[in-house]
Symmetry: C2
Subunit: 146 residues, 2 copies
DNA sequence: CATAGATGTAACAACAAGAGTTACAACAAG
DNA sequence: CTTGTTGTAACTCTTGTTGTTACATCTATG
């Protein structure tokens, strides 16, 4: 199955917060408008991003802001913040291979390290892409429209 | 969400077919015994692996065999064969960002290439791991047990 | 200090994919 | 023709995602 859209929505959210920070109060309703989903979906994500120390959300008066330099936030940080996959394991292992079978009882031993290696390759790549890049590219695309 | 267990089961299946090819007729029931799932789950996977040219399955009399050298089968081949993710896209993009919003209407432009880059990193890593390695390592683990 | 406009969160419904199971037709080989 | 398989349809069960309503809580401000 695919990685939850929470991940791409979260990136979208951050791009919006930064882009509109000077011109609008960036509320969950505002963000919901840009992403085109229910505000509650946004609020849930804001909570996860906040818990990860990526943003601050002001209760009561409203609005979200980014908590640290964009260059210090990577796609990996967001990916982890929003629980894109269950308990950090990208691959779903079939639970109970037969312990009576020599192959069955050794599958985990053999595969765990390989799967981890693959997952790490993906996460490393994510770690190399910052939100700053994404925001800058977004701005350049917006420029081109004019 | 996680990548379907079809993937790890398929690897398990190949390891079994190779390991037991001289001593047993490797039927879907036999495999189901080692993996510990319903034989139909196995047969469905065998069909997908067969369609990808990785194995041959003999109808009627029964049994599966691997169709090409183990060193020419990578984790990536299996991953693709069993449709581990929907239509080849690892990331689920939220469908309808607001076209009225400059950020919303450019999100795809910006993210598509980044997400592809991440996915490719993962797939490249998968492509570098062969079933031969996996089978050899399995055998070495079985040796160690004695 | 009451209120307007937010957030925080619970609860639940709708939906989709994964995975398990039963059942049975098609087939191959003795 | 019988036996043991494969191939596949049809269904259920379960789980995670996503959408939605509802409401308590909070904060700035008039």
């Amino acid at each position: 199955m695919q990685i939850s859209s929470r991940f791409t929505i979260a990136i979208h959210i951050l791009a919006c917060i930064d882009t509109f920070k000077n011109d609008y109060k960036v509320t969950s309703d505002f963000l919901a408008g840009s992403v085109n989903v229910n505000p509650v979906v946004i609020r849930r994500l804001l909570q996860q991003l906040k818990a990860a120390g990526i943003i601050n959300v002001t209760r009561g008066s409203g609005g979200a802001e980014i908590a640290k330099p964009l260059s210090e936030i990577t796609m990996l940080d967001i990916y982890k913040a929003v629980d894109s996959i269950e308990n950090g394991e990208l691959f779903h292992f079939h639970e109970n291979p037969n312990k009576e079978c020599p192959v069955g009882r050794n599958m985990h031993n053999v595969l765990d390290s390989k799967l981890e290696q693959v997952q790490r390759a993906m996460e490393n790549e994510m770690g190399s892409i910052t939100i700053q890049e994404i925001v800058e590219e977004t701005k350049s695309f917006i420029q081109k429209e004019l």
